[in-house]
């Protein structure tokens, strides 16, 4: 618990400094919120058990967004592969380290001279704290990402840039029809995530995204869960900090957690530092 509090304090300090630095940039007369876009995400989350304490995190997301003709899933936006090795320190804390390879798709009619897709690379590490509060679970997630992105043209302006992302998410899972999260339980999962960014290219737009998401899920068994929910998000335009993008996203999630170890290795169940 001590470690968890210390990590949280560090994060808040970092976020505070970033906010202060943002406030020191040239003031603009008035910020502007753009019309919200609509999007549809299908997200699969794999946690493949490798040993008592190690997991292979394998996530694949298909992110669609509106086109001129169709809302929500008019065109593909990104295909996103996130992998990591996760170490389960205790029931209350785990840490993960891995990479992301994402494909960003150019939107609408691709202008001449622009690419259809460009890749994006990240190294990421995550620190997840879980708290048991009566019948519900409360989670604090700190995720740090080191990110290389580029634009769709071959011009100098669209060349590779490097940024850091500083993410903090607080979320809950509240069982509805069972006393605790268990097979057969429906649950509600409210989440709020603040994503800040830094880097040479980040001049007046440290607030990359603020995501408010609530999902409604069903636990089929300890190895399979489905959920769906609606997310509102908003964040500053990288080039012009005064502009705020907004988005409404319908998200569908599948969580799978297979354990291919031989039966004898699964038993006895380790309850991890109770």
């Amino acid at each position: 618990m001590f470690e968890y509090k210390r990590s949280l304090t560090t994060l808040l300090l970092v976020l505070g400094c970033l906010t202060v630095s943002a406030q020191q940039t040239e003031p603009v007369a008035e910020s502007e919120f753009k019309e919200p876009l609509t999007a549809f995400w299908i997200n699969t989350y794999g946690n493949i058990r490798l040993s008592d304490r190690f997991f292979w995190v394998a996530q694949t997301h298909f992110r669609f967004q509106e086109s001129a003709r169709l809302p929500l899933a008019g065109q593909i936006g990104q295909i996103y592969n996130r992998h990591a090795i996760s170490y389960l320190y205790s029931k209350y804390f785990r840490v993960s380290l891995g990479g992301v390879m994402r494909f960003n798709f150019n939107q609408d009619e691709v202008p001449e001279g622009e690419r259809r897709t460009v890749p994006e690379y990240r190294i990421w590490h995550e620190y997840l704290f879980a708290q048991h509060l009566s019948r519900l679970m409360l989670y604090h997630r700190i995720r740090l990402e080191h990110r290389w992105t580029r634009g769709f043209t071959d011009t100098e302006a669209d060349d590779w840039i490097f940024r850091n992302r500083w993410r903090y998410m607080i979320s809950m899972k509240i069982p509805l029809n069972k006393p605790k999260l268990s097979p057969g339980a429906f649950y509600v999962g409210p989440e709020a995530e603040l994503i800040m960014q830094s880097g040479k290219a980040v001049v007046d737009s440290p607030l990359e995204d603020l995501r408010l998401h609530t999902s409604f899920g069903y636990i089929v068994n300890p190895r399979l869960t489905f959920a769906t929910g609606l997310m509102y998000s908003m964040g500053q335009d990288l080039a012009k900090g005064a502009y705020y993008k907004q988005k409404w996203t319908w998200r569908v999630h599948m969580y799978f957690s297979p354990d291919f170890r031989k039966v004898k290795n699964k038993l006895p169940m380790i309850h991890l530092t109770e």
Binding site: F62, N221, P222, H271
Partner: protein
């Protein structure tokens, strides 16, 4: 959009690929150790593969069993089965060896080992199996063994099979006697079956499409013919050539006045020994997972199915016979009466009457009942058979009883209530039914008469002692029930146990006759003991339910929720136990509990608990998939016990 979804599915398939690879892994291993199949227990060596979680035998297989302790204390039945499996089915050449040995000759101790010789019989069977059924030529050889050496040959049998059915010609041999015969494609007896003794034709059985027409003794010299059946024109039925058929044959010949025609008949002996040899072999093949179970040879019989009325009459005769046996046994076993009859000639007379009624008057009724129970009656002409059993056609209810008294032996006529003449020849089965009822009424009247005579002081003392024991047992049960009723939920049925025990006590209290009271007290003591065991079992049941639940619940870490989740494993099996079997037994406790069912319910609940705990660690994939198709508790229980190692 469609393209995007296809890309998504492709990515997902790539991501899930390790799952399919892991699912295809198969282990091939060798088992060597203790092994049990049905009634056979011993040690086996075989190869197997694990598919999903089922053990699939594959390749050479050897299974042997011998029990030295059984040999030393009486008889051992060792066995050796050798052959091979493909996909868990026995196929190809197989060899079966069975023994039945007792100690024979002297025992010697050499180099620290005891050496004993055995006497008995050795039975070897060899042949090929196809799809688990006998196929091609099968041979059976039975030797008598004396001092561990094979002596004479009791049977040599060679029969051709196709897909489990006997075909073409066969040969059965014992000593100097050889039986050659043939069957049609479907195993139906055909043409002449000839017995040779020392190469001379000794007997010939002639079949026509399964129907035995006649038996000719020494056809080459005497030509003594026994006609069995004329060519049948009415309704016929194909039946197995088994012990039942041979029963029928002896009745049929007896009806024709040829009662002794089958005495020492070599065909009967050969067929019987051969049928026993195949029964043993087929039982082993079935235990190994094969299908063998079809009859060897089949024959045709005239059939006149029993009418509903006849079945009702025969059922009533059977019930009355049982009642007569119960009452007469109680009267004859009663030691107090044995003492009294020395001093009281009336008691001696009545007991002798019981014996006479039971043995002489009912003798033919018993024969009739046995013929019915062995399912031979539909193939026999009833009027002719009754005429054979009661040759005069009439039975007199009055019988002459001879009994001992102080002066020597006396004779008196006994006539029970409603004594008369029973015209069986004219009236048939109804008259037999009336005769049986008359005997029952007579024996019951004797019971009442003897009961009044035995209300002696000794009897009363014996009953008082039993009642004291009964009171103690009842007090224990009652205090057990009182301390748990209201605590244990009503569904567990302790109230039913209490209701039953009270009702049984009231019934007992209403019994006045001392003779009956003694018997009733003993029955009630047994009942109270059974109910006590059942009540204890019911009190233990919540704990056992929890034990099974805990055994069938795994704690699984869910990395997404960061919680440990309880998950029921072998769900279908556990649900069958919790939702079907336990309610089924508790229903039986709450409704219709009797003294006769209490003991069985207690042991059923106890063994179900043990079975469930054993199944938790056993391979149950096949059992669970079979459970999917059954709903009825009785069928579920059959599946659970069928998979139980014997």
């Amino acid at each position: 959009m469609k393209i995007a979804i296809r890309i998504g599915v492709l990515c997902l398939l790539i991501a899930l690929d390790p799952i399919s690879l892991a699912g295809q892994q198969r282990d091939s291993s060798t088992f060597s150790g203790s092994y049990t199949l049905g009634e056979f227990a011993g040690a086996a060596t075989y190869n197997y593969q694990l598919r999903r979680r089922d053990t699939v035998r594959q390749g050479p297989f050897t299974f042997r069993g011998a029990n030295a302790r059984a040999l030393l204390t009486g008889t051992d039945r060792p066995f050796t089965f050798t052959g091979q499996y493909v996909d868990d089915g026995p196929v190809g050449p197989w060899t079966f060896e069975f023994g039945m040995y007792g100690l024979g000759g002297p025992v010697a101790l050499r180099d620290g080992y005891y050496r004993v010789a055995v006497d008995g019989i050795r039975h070897q069977a060899t042949g090929r199996l196809l799809d688990g059924e006998p196929d091609s030529l099968w041979t059976q050889t039975i030797h008598r063994v004396v001092a561990s050496d094979t002596a004479e040959v009791l049977l040599r049998s060679a029969i051709n099979f196709t897909a489990g059915v006997a075909r073409q010609s066969f040969r059965l041999e014992s000593g100097a006697t050889v039986l050659l015969g043939r069957v049609q494609r479907d195993g139906v007896a055909e043409d002449a079956w000839t017995v040779y003794t020392d190469l001379e034709t000794a007997q010939q059985w002639t079949f026509d499409d399964g129907q035995l027409l006649h038996i000719v003794n020494e056809p080459e010299t005497r030509g003594d013919t026994v006609a069995v059946l004329p060519l049948l024109s009415g309704k016929t039925e194909l039946v197995d050539l088994d012990a039942r058929y041979l029963d029928w044959l002896s009745i049929q010949l007896a009806l024709q006045g040829e009662e002794r025609a089958l005495d020492g008949n070599p065909v009967i002996e050969l067929l019987t020994t051969n049928a026993e040899a195949y029964a043993r072999t087929f039982a082993a093949i079935r235990a190994l997972g094969g299908e063998a179970g079809r009859p060897l040879f089949r024959v045709r019989l005239p059939v006149d199915p029993l009418t509903r009325r006849e079945v009702a009459q025969l059922t009533s005769i059977d019930a009355d016979l049982r009642a007569v046996d119960t009452i007469s046994q109680a009267l004859l076993d009663n030691t107090a009466l044995s003492v009294v009859q020395n001093a009281d000639p009336e008691v001696a007379y009545l007991r002798a009457a019981v014996i006479a009624l039971r043995d002489s008057l009912l003798e033919p009724v018993r024969t009739l009942r046995n013929t019915y129970e062995r399912e031979v009656l539909p193939y026999v002409s009833r009027p002719a058979y009754l005429g054979y059993l009661w040759s005069g056609g009439v039975e007199d209810g009055e019988i002459l009883v001879t009994y001992p008294d102080a002066a020597g032996r006396q004779s008196r006529t006994f006539a029970g209530p409603g004594a008369g003449r029973f015209a069986i020849g004219e009236e048939g089965l109804p008259a037999v039914e009336a005769l049986t009822k008359y005997v029952l009424a007579s024996v019951d009247s004797i019971r009442v008469a003897l009961g009044q005579k035995s209300n002696t002081r000794e009897r009363r003392q014996a009953v008082t002692a039993l009642e004291e024991q009964l009171t103690r047992e009842y007090y224990l049960l009652d205090s057990l029930l009182e301390s748990h009723i209201g605590v244990l939920p009503e569904q567990f049925g302790l109230e039913s146990v209490q209701r039953l025990v009270k009702a049984e006590f009231q019934r007992y209290a209403a019994t006045k006759d001392v003779l009956e009271k003694g018997e009733a007290a003993q029955q009630l003591i047994r009942c109270v003991e059974d109910l006590d065991a059942l009540a204890l079992q019911l009190i233990r049941l919540p704990g056992q339910l929890e034990e099974v639940r805990a055994a069938y619940t795994d704690e699984v870490w869910n990395n997404f929720t960061a919680t440990v989740m309880e998950e029921v494993v072998k769900k279908r099996l556990y649900r069958a136990y919790e939702d079907r079997l336990i309610p089924y037994y508790l229903d039986r406790v709450r409704e219709g509990l009797t003294c006769d069912t209490a003991g069985a319910l207690q042991s059923a609940l106890e063994s179900l608990h043990r079975r469930m705990l054993a199944l938790r660690t056993a391979e149950t994939d096949a059992l669970e998939s079979r459970l999917r198709k059954v709903e009825k508790p009785t069928e579920i229980l059959e599946l659970l016990t069928a998979s139980e190692p014997q």
